[in-house]
């Protein structure tokens, strides 16, 4: 049974969503959410009403088939000891049914909140043919590190192929139920690179806790987190990229709160302090003045910048 996103993808937002629309077409993401029958009413339906609508395709993976929700039944039991089995079967399901419908394949929990538009930005400078996967990188046990399960991780198409191939050739097997660690071990064995998901200011984008903890909490030095993170940990405002991708341990009402903060509540006219490199690099984007003949100074300046860039390109192209 093909269970794809019934909403036709794009959730309408603002005045100019062209960049987001373009990325939606160019960076196709299939999200699969790890859940179970007892969580559908209290957790998963809130995932369904919020962030998962922004995926190109979303599939809810459970131990049992539920045609109403809908969920795919993986034929496992429920419980923490089934986590890696469910992950293996879920990725195999996605490979068998949807490999050609997406470029990247994200695994998330039913208490993970993902900002899919920001995930597309992280992935935009990579191709699905690269053997790579991204998430919040942990360092112990695996030489190149592995990605936190709760914070969500995303495999390229090639990484997914190699994962499935690894199980076919027994290079990868079900060694333990620690899903994220085992995934990391398999990825290393089949030559998939652990990517760096941090933004241009080296701030993390995938987060293993809720924003409140990353922004305000002081973790005790004995807490495992300090020993696990691959990159140096920042507490306070530098903990988290403006263009963060995920948070974990997000409860039902917090899903809506995150959706409100991300896609709705804003400060009128505010010029963000952090602009990602691509937000500034719009060389060939035609500003409204050329299209509509608008007269504001802002547009005139944009026009000038574009014309200068075009002239520069022409000079480069035409010079011997």
């Amino acid at each position: 049974v093909t269970l794809t996103n019934t909403v036709t993808g794009r959730v309408p937002l603002s005045k100019d969503g062209r960049m987001a629309d373009e990325l939606y077409k160019k960076v196709r993401i299939l999200c699969w959410v790890m859940t179970g029958p007892s969580n559908l009413e209290k957790k998963t339906r809130h995932v369904k009403s919020t962030w998962s609508r922004h995926c190109n395709i979303v599939i809810f993976m459970s131990s049992v088939d539920d045609p109403d929700f809908p969920t795919v039944g993986l034929g496992t039991k429920e419980g923490r000891d089934q986590l890696y089995w469910k992950t293996i079967k879920a990725f195999h399901y996605v490979y068998e049914h949807h490999i050609n419908e997406a470029d990247w394949f994200l695994k998330a929990d039913d208490d993970t909140y993902v900002i899919v538009d920001n995930l597309r930005l992280v992935l935009a400078n990579h191709t699905p043919e690269e053997p790579v996967y991204f998430g919040r990188r942990f360092k112990p046990y695996v030489k190149q590190g592995y990605m936190s399960g709760g914070a969500g991780y995303v495999l390229s198409k090639e990484a997914l192929r190699r994962f499935v191939g690894g199980f076919k050739t027994n290079v990868c097997t079900h060694t333990s139920s620690t899903e994220d660690l085992e995934m990391g071990r398999c990825m290393e064995k089949v030559g998939v690179l652990a990517g760096d998901s941090r933004d241009s200011m080296q701030r993390e984008t995938f987060h293993p806790f809720v924003p409140e903890q990353h922004l305000t909490h002081k973790f005790p030095k004995s807490f495992w987190y300090w020993r696990y993170c691959y990159h140096p940990i920042s507490e306070g405002p530098n903990c988290c990229s403006d263009l963060s991708v995920s948070f974990h341990y997000v409860g039902a009402s917090q899903m809506y709160l995150m959706e409100y903060y991300t896609y709705h509540l804003r400060a009128f006219g505010y010029n963000y302090r952090y602009q990602s490199l691509s937000e500034n690099n719009k060389i060939l984007e035609l500003p409204p003045c050329i299209v509509t003949g608008s007269q504001t100074i802002c547009d005139r300046l944009k026009c000038l910048v574009v014309l200068v860039n075009i002239l520069q390109l022409l000079v480069i192209y035409l010079s011997p």
Partner: protein, 318 residues
Amino acid sequence: MFSEGGSFVKGMLLGGLFCLVVSLLASFSPSTESGSEDHHNHHHVKAASKDELTHLSDSHIKELSNQVRVYCVIMVQPKILVYWATAAETWSKHCDKAVFYTSEQSKALEAVDLNEKDEWARLRKALKHAYDNAGDLRWFFVAQPTTFAIIENLKYLVLTKDPSQPFYLGNAMKSGELEYVAYDSGIALSYEALRRLVNIFQDEDKCPERGRALWKLSEDKQLAACLKYTGVFAENGEDAHGKGLFNSKSVETLIKDSMSDNPNNVVEGCCSDMAVTFNGMSPSQMHVMMFGVYRLRPYGHNFLDSLVFLPPEGSEND
């Protein structure tokens, strides 16, 4: 028996008459309060619509940017030091001028010490001080540090309003016949409203400093009563769709309420995208709101607002 009944009735009549006369004199009645939706259909102030904003000329935009600057009057006390510190570290940095007014000095944080225990008297002194030190600022926002404010959205609300006209905006409530702006969700005053207010402060009959003798009214109601004498009335601040912008509850509570009331449309049914205030959030929840408002966003969605507000100097969390 009859004569006792008769005196009883006479007594009741006299008492009732006395009560009526006293109520008329005092012109208040301690009846229950109702929300803005029930009674006042005629005191709303809406933010300008998208269309109104896109047809502004460049010079007009420059003028408006200047006119819409805000003087924040933040009423603090040492007993709520952690909220005082949070306001200083977060939203107040977005005021063009933020002045903290305290009941008594604290060694930890700076403020104008009004040296005044009575809350109404303190508010009066703060407002007078703000008026005297306004410089060329024309909008005033009064809040307690238990409120979180998004000043840019206050500017959005008053963008096309003339501050030389009286405006008294916020979450408008009604108590009997008196419409007032709730203190806990912030009070916005135009220069003209404040000028009239400071003027009537001098009238001890209409606007006594030590409160009304019969019932000790809360400061926000006293403020409304004084302003009413000057011809200034409370108005509910709303976005272009009519949604209230000043919230007396926390965002977490409003989301939970919306999950009950609008389970199929929780976020849209909850709060305005351009909300100005929320009340009753913990300090760490306020830090999260700071991140959510001024930093966290989805890549690729650009708002082409007619005005631009730059981030404040020397700040890291916005």
